[in-house]
Symmetry: C2
Subunit: 253 residues, 2 copies
């Protein structure tokens, strides 16, 4: 249910009450308990998650920076609403950032070890070997996929890039595995998954070859797949609504 938030939390984590508030509040937003576009009533939330107003306000400040809340001119916050275009733009930007990561990784590859990436590619191959994956294997794929993308970012060796990437991943549908769950059902989507995996492999190969430009181009291509997945998901509204974070997206008429 909770979209992914599993990155290496190297930064000092907030105090328990704030952390609790951030986690619960984020969940309430992504599950639609707090309707998109609507004001967040502090007292209701305080009541729902059992912390006092002070840590809650700190948490809201955090979620504002993450982009899930927006400040109201007259005070307080609203749950931010996303258009389909917002999601598309986030996906495009993710592709660009990952492309940048590939380039950086290639340039500073000198003493880099690509073995972890190869390992992850191999593991994902394993999962996809079955012609019709189960929910369990797909869950495993999600984990591996996220780890792959995280590792790629880490390999770039640019801490700031990692932070920005985290911010992007916090937005609805912008995390690497956002669509994987929906891809189990449709055969066409599953084919996209196979192509994506081929991208993974060739990206690592390009980095190994020192071909940063190719790696970057592949990352862009990889992101385009996400855009296609978005298209496919939108076409099947019912399936779309089951994806986490979909409640935040206002479908254009």
């Amino acid at each position: 249910m909770n979209t992914v938030r599993a990155r290496s939390q190297k930064r000092g984590s907030p105090s328990p009450q704030i952390l609790r508030a951030v986690l619960r509040l984020r969940e309430m937003i992504l599950t639609g308990q707090l309707p998109a576009g609507q004001r967040v009533a502090e007292l209701k939330v305080v009541d729902a998650i059992g912390v006092s107003r002070t840590p809650l306000r700190l948490a809201m400040e955090t979620l504002e920076h993450e982009g899930l809340l927006a400040r109201r001119p007259s005070g307080g916050f609203t749950v931010r609403e996303f258009t389909l275009r917002d999601v598309q733009q986030a996906l495009e930007l993710r592709g660009s950032l990952e492309g940048t990561a590939c380039r950086f990784a290639t340039e500073s590859r000198a003493s880099q070890d690509l073995a972890p990436l190869w390992q992850l590619v191999g593991d994902m191959d394993e999962v996809l070997r079955a012609s019709q994956p189960t929910v369990e294997t797909l869950n495993r794929y999600v984990v591996l996929n996220e780890r792959f993308h995280d590792t790629l970012i880490d390999l770039a060796g640019n801490a700031l890039l990692g932070r920005l990437m985290n911010q992007v991943h916090g937005l609805p549908f912008a995390s690497p595995s956002a669509f994987v769950q929906a891809q189990a059902t449709s055969t066409e989507s599953f084919r996209i998954l196979l192509v994506a995996q081929e991208h993974h492999r060739t990206i690592v190969q390009a980095i190994a070859d020192g071909d940063g430009a190719r790696a970057e181009a592949l990352a862009h291509e990889h992101a385009r797949l996400a855009l296609r997945n978005l298209d496919a998901a939108v076409r099947d509204i019912e399936a779309f609504k089951r994806l986490p974070g979909s409640v935040l997206v206002k479908m254009g008429a």
Copy 2:
């Protein structure tokens, strides 16, 4: 204590006390009043800027997201310290993001109007026409330069990109005009400035030609100039120390 409070701020800006705290605190950090690497004592700061602890803590949360403060594991915050490498990485990333902006701008140029960019380029030409610019003209250049870079980002039409860019600009030396002031003094630096201006022109030209790849490459090249400026600045420690934000940078041996 507090008597009158002007609500109805412009869209999305924090309440007055928080805003005040953010601004003053940021200033205290960048001027070195709060030494880098050291813990921020809430009570001292409260005393110095005249807001109570609650809005100050909100402000610290904001500056943490900006990257100027870091959470201490045992509570509270420290002023974040940057290495030269951090600064370099931020500059590299800025180049990549601006390159991305150029590409996006080119791709969605359909009904875009490049006139503002041309205008800014012309105005900057004007400023640089003098063989030896004064402090005043340089100040004007700073304004124009920042506006140019902002406009470029806007032209990309990707709101998320704008947000990330803002975050980058908040880091020491990562804003577009960080080195301009130091470039008035040295003749060599001034030449770099002329090259930078040539970049501006060719970037706009490339966008106008629909040549996104060229525009992107030029933006990367443009950022490399900033890296050279950083090198030059570091060589002249005294001048370096006069640049805003330098107190945050720990010079490696």
